[in-house]
C-alpha cells in the first residue's frame, strides 16, 4: 500500500494537502451526522463532505492527472457539478417529508409559500 504517482515535489505537496483536507472535512461531516441529536440538525453536516470535501479531493485529482498526462484534465468538474446540483434536491425532499410527517400538511404548504388557513379563534 505504498503505491503513489510519480509527481514533482511541489505538485505532490499540493495533492497531499488537498486530499488530507478534503478527507478531514468529510470525516467531520460524518461525525456530525452521527452525533447531532435531532433530524433537522443532522441534515446539515453531510453537506460538508458533498461541497468542500468533494471540492478539495477533486482539485487534488485534477492536479494529479493534469501533471501525469501533461495536459489539462478537467473532467472531474463533472462530478463536482453533479454533486452540487443534486444534493439539495434530495435534502429538500427529505426535509419536507419530515416536516409533513411531524407537523401535518399545513406546515409543508407554509414552507413552500402557499397560503395557509388560519385556525379559527
Amino acid at each position: 500500500m505504498t503505491l503513489a504517482p510519480d509527481l514533482p515535489t511541489w505538485a505532490a505537496i499540493i495533492v497531499a494537502i488537498a486530499a488530507l483536507l478534503g478527507a478531514a472535512i468529510t470525516l467531520i461531516g460524518a461525525i456530525g451526522l452521527l452525533r447531532l441529536p435531532s433530524f433537522y440538525q443532522r441534515v446539515h453536516p453531510p453537506t460538508l463532505g458533498m461541497t468542500f470535501g468533494a471540492f478539495f479531493i477533486l482539485c487534488a485529482s485534477m492536479l494529479c492527472f493534469s501533471i501525469l498526462q501533461s495536459r489539462l484534465v478537467l473532467h472531474e468538474i463533472l462530478i463536482g457539478m453533479f454533486l452540487l446540483l443534486t444534493t439539495p434536491v434530495t435534502l429538500i425532499i427529505l426535509t419536507e417529508s419530515a416536516l409533513r410527517e411531524e407537523h401535518g400538511a399545513q406546515t409543508a404548504a407554509f414552507v413552500r409559500g402557499e397560503p395557509v388557513d388560519e385556525p379559527e379563534q
Binding site: A4, G22, A23, L27, P46, F82, I93
Partner: protein, 91 residues
C-alpha cells in the same frame, strides 16, 4: 514520493472512518429518513474514496466508476426520499 503515499493512505483512512460513521447512522437511525440521509452521505464518501484510489493508481478508470456511482446514488436517494414524501415514487 513516499510522503504522498502516506498522505493518501491517511486520507483514505479518514474517508473510511467517515463511511463507518454513516453506516452506523444507517443501522441505528431512529426513523427511515435518518437512514436515507445516511445513505446519501455514504455514497458521497464512496465517490471520494474511489477518487483517492484513482489518484494513488494514476488511472482514470476510477473516475468513470465514481461518475456512474454519483448518477446512480442520486437517483436512488431521490427515489427513497420521494417515497417517504408521497408514499409512491412515480405518480
Amino acid at each position: 514520493m513516499n510522503a504522498l503515499a502516506l498522505a493518501l493512505s491517511a486520507a483514505q483512512t479518514m474517508l473510511a472512518l467517515a463511511g463507518v460513521c454513516a453506516v452506523w447512522r444507517l443501522v441505528r437511525g431512529p426513523r427511515a429518513r435518518d437512514r436515507v440521509l445516511a445513505f446519501d452521505a455514504l455514497y458521497v464518501v464512496g465517490i471520494l474514496l474511489l477518487l483517492t484510489e484513482g489518484i494513488r493508481n494514476g488511472r482514470t478508470v476510477f473516475f468513470e466508476a465514481s461518475l456512474v456511482m454519483s448518477a446512480l446514488g442520486f437517483t436512488s436517494s431521490v427515489a427513497l426520499a420521494k417515497f417517504l414524501l408521497r408514499g409512491e415514487v412515480i405518480e
